[in-house]
């Protein structure tokens, strides 16, 4: 094991540097791999696909969850219900992003860095957006094109009892 590093630096695609505690970095499987691998001595980790805006959010999430984990450990194992609920509330607030674009970027960042919790959270948030909407509404929200032929549309709408438009 290399000498424990307190913090690591991640560099966004825009070139901005951010410091992350090791505990926070361990939330990401990718970073965890790098940190526990003796043969690599890491000081600065470039994450070329993630912009500053998104990286800030990701680090915030990792930090919060790392702190929560540490607190749980200190309390001797199980997280109490109220603490778990508080974390969930924080997560919900966290995912309230102003622009939907951000949501997908966070999702992809979580995928790339293999941050399971954030990835699940982001996917669930998108799923909740899709839930309860008609195909037309979904297409409007996400700006998607309907690429079915008229016959296929008719078939599908008959089959699924939904109106296309």
């Amino acid at each position: 094991m290399s000498s424990p590093v307190e913090q690591i630096t991640v560099v966004s695609s825009d070139g901005d540097e951010f410091k992350m505690t090791v505990a926070a970095a361990m939330q990401s499987e990718q970073l965890k791999q790098m940190l526990t691998d003796d043969s690599i001595s890491i000081v600065k980790v470039p994450v070329e696909n993630i912009s500053t805006e998104i990286l800030v959010k990701v680090i915030e999430y990792c930090q919060k969850h790392a702190d929560h984990e540490a607190a749980t450990k200190a309390n001797g194992g199980g997280a109490s219900d109220s603490e778990a609920e508080e974390l969930n509330k924080w997560d919900a607030e966290f995912m309230k992003v102003d622009v939907e674009d951000k949501l997908f970027h966070i999702l992809m960042a979580a995928n790339y860095l293999e941050i399971k919790g954030l990835f699940d959270l982001a996917c669930q948030t998108v799923a909740d957006l899709i839930k309860g909407k008609t195909p037309k509404q979904i297409r409007k929200i996400f700006n998607l094109k309907n690429d079915f032929t008229p016959e296929e549309q008719e078939r599908l709408s008959r089959q699924h009892n939904c109106s296309f438009d």
């Binding site: 070329e48 609920e85 909407k133």
Partner: protein, 656 residues
């Protein structure tokens, strides 16, 4: 994805950074992993959206900066790799949600159709007010009991359709039966479509693929692993399916009960061997025209098949005597056996089959175009199958009167016997059957046996055959009045008689047979008997009017109104009357309407050129009970009348 059409010089007017020159369309089902290519950081944009183009149709190079800012809100859900979208879809809780999402775009449809039951997330960690059991029920209803059935044919059979079926049926009770028929124009279904079905329809019970050349083993193997409840498999004209797929089905679908393979040249002995080994629930097997299936496959299947295989059909195969010997020995549960066109089977094969003593439960045997059915072969079968009730022999050129007679002596259980195109049989053989089987034989049919010729037969005095209820003699030109009279004497209990295309029989012959029946005729079919006249029909109607239900005089050119009047007066129970191609006129139809035919449901007057529009009132009256009316080719009835009839007889199916 929005597309920009006819647009050039993209690089020039973008304020910052470069643009992806060639954003890739995510291909169907491509698992991209963490491909960076599709990741679009917010300030880079790939293209101008279509809405911009709409507002600036004539000006393809808008320079205003504000416009770009306004368009900055461009979502990139389409840029998510498949695996991310998949993860999102997994979290849609109900089938209904997934169905709606499937209607959004083809890509979404594909991804959703590939979600299998195990991959749906049930919500564990989030605190929900709704009952958790409700949500679990949603996950469980995936696939359902398989009560839905879908048929895809020709051009409409596409992968998209299959994906839609997979998604749509999953939450509505599940797909139970699927049939895909490639038409003449070909079929667009590929392995991808079958994979969608495999993932989305775990309750699939019956699959039928006809003429589908665009799939291969991969697709069927997916179905085998995704649909373990498969019971029926029907493959016809699938040249790309081989033993590999059949082996997979045999191993993964233990509930397989019915298997039918026709014209699949790549399926052979190995596939059948696997079926014999693993499909212990197989009850019905049909193999037709598969050039690679030989003795080894059939033999190994039968020798390892369990005691459930009851129905077997083998047609147009190169199997030899060996296979029949194996069937004769191991076919302990077989009740129905049909063999057709087996050119390599000789007399020995049938002899071995009968002497194997394994076909104890055989009830019904049908052998067509097999030269091995000779006197010896048939005799062995008669002895070896003590429970044989129904026998149908077609094109057995070598079977003679002697063989038939000896068979009828030893086949003690035989109830129905049908001979078609057995040209060595003469009247001797025919009457021999009537003598020997007089205890149990209920039905006898002789079709197109040209060996029957007028003979001066002196019959021994025998008691008449009391058990024979049904007699069919069709297209045996040598059958004449004398023979009819003899038959009449011997068969007094006839109820169902078919004497069609007998040009050698006149009224006296018909009457000799038909008036002799003590039991009362229920169904009489005298179609194409051109010598039949009104006199005979009237006599029949009078004698058997109280029992007659079906009367077919199709093509009896000499029949006229007199017959119809006799029928109208005497036959209140008739529900099916066919006088097509006869000489009846409007008067006859009117008489029919005026009679006591309160049960008439089906009436056929096609090709009666003397029936005209004047019959309209009569037909209307008859139509009160009619369910089917055939007035095709009635040249004197015009379309106006037909139209009126269709309007007024709304319950009746009219063919015009």
């Amino acid at each position: 994805m929005s597309k920009v059409l006819g647009f050039t010089g993209i690089d020039d007017f973008f304020p910052g950074g470069s643009i992806y020159a060639n954003p890739k369309e995510p291909s169907l089902l491509l698992s991209l992993g963490r491909h960076v290519d599709l990741y679009f950081p917010p300030q880079k944009r790939s293209r101008i959206s279509a809405s911009l183009k709409r507002s600036h149709i004539n000006d393809p190079f808008p320079l205003s900066g504000e416009l770009f800012e306004a368009e900055k809100k461009q979502t990139s859900i389409e840029n998510l790799p498949d695996e991310c979208l998949f993860e999102i879809f997994r979290r849609l809780p109900t089938g209904q949600e997934r169905s709606l999402a499937a209607c959004v775009s083809k890509r979404w449809l594909w991804l959703l159709s590939n979600i299998s039951k195990d991959e749906i997330c049930s919500h564990e960690k989030t605190s929900y007010e709704n009952d958790v059991s409700g949500e679990e029920a949603d996950v469980e209803e995936f696939g359902g009991g398989g009560c839905l059935s879908r048929d895809l044919e020709g051009k409409k059979a596409t992968d998209v359709r299959l994906a839609a079926v997979a998604v749509g049926t999953a939450s509505r009770g599940g797909l139970g039966k699927l049939s895909i028929r490639g038409g003449d124009s070909g079929c667009a279904v590929t392995n991808l479509g079958l994979r969608a079905v495999a993932h989305g329809c775990p309750s699939l019970k019956a699959l039928s693929l006809w003429n589908v050349t665009t799939i291969d083993d991969e697709g069927l193997i997916e179905i085998a692993s995704g649909c373990p409840q498969l019971k029926k498999l029907d493959l016809c004209c699938c040249p790309t399916i081989s033993d590999k797929a059949l082996i997979a089905v045999a191993k993964n679908c233990p509930n397989l009960t019915e298997l039918s393979i026709e014209s699949c040249p790549r399926i052979g002995n190995d596939g059948l061997q696997a079926i014999g080994q693993f499909s212990t629930n197989l009850r019905s097997l049909s193999v037709k025209n598969c050039t690679h299936v030989g003795d080894q496959g059939i033999a190994s299947l039968f020798s390892s098949a369990s005691f459930l295989l009851t129905k077997v059909k083998l047609e147009a195969l190169t199997i030899s005597d060996l296979s029949l010997a194996v069937i004769g020995h191991y076919g302990k549960a077989v009740t129905d056996l049909a063999l057709k066109c087996l050119p390599n089977v000789s007399e020995k094969g049938f002899w071995l089959m009968g002497n194997g003593h394994g076909l104890q439960k055989l009830n019904s045997l049908s052998v067509a175009s097999c030269q091995g059915v000779t006197d010896i072969g048939l005799d062995a079968l008669g002895r070896g199958c003590p429970n044989l009730k129904h026998l149908y022999l077609c094109k057995s050129a070598f079977l003679s009167d002697y063989g038939l007679a000896s068979f009828s002596k030893v086949a003690l259980s035989i109830e129905s016997l049908k001979l078609e195109e057995c040209h060595r049989i003469t009247q001797v053989g025919f009457f021999g059957v009537l003598f020997n089987c007089c205890v149990k034989l209920k039905a006898l049919a002789l079709i197109s046996c040209f060996g029957i010729k007028a003979q001066n037969l002196v019959l021994p005095s025998v008691s008449p055959c009391q058990s024979l209820q049904s007699l069919s003699i069709c297209n045996c030109p040598g059958f004449g009045d004398a023979a009819m009279a003899l038959v009449g004497k011997l068969c007094p209990q006839l109820q169902y008689v078919e004497l069609s295309r007998l040009e050698g029989v006149t009224d006296s012959g018909f009457l000799a047979l038909l008036l002799n029946s003590d039991a009362g005729l229920v169904k009489v079919n005298l179609s194409q008997c051109v010598n039949l006249t009104d006199k005979a029909v009237s006599s029949i109607a009078t004698k058997h009017g109280l029992t007659l239900e079906v009367f077919n005089l199709d093509g009896c050119k000499k029949i006229s109104d007199v017959s119809l009047m006799a029928i109208a007066e005497n036959c209140p129970l008739i529900w099916d009357l066919d006088v097509s191609g006869s000489a009846i006129t409007d008067a006859g139809v009117t008489a029919l309407a005026g009679g006591s035919m309160f049960h008439l449901q089906i009436l056929s007057l096609s090709d009666c050129s003397l029936v005209s529009n004047k019959s309209l009132p009569a037909l209307r009256k008859l139509g009160e009970t009619l369910l089917g009316l055939n007035i095709r080719n009635c040249k004197a009835i015009n379309s106006r009348t037909t139209g009126k009839l269709s309007e007024q007889l709304w319950r009746c199916d009219i063919l015009a």
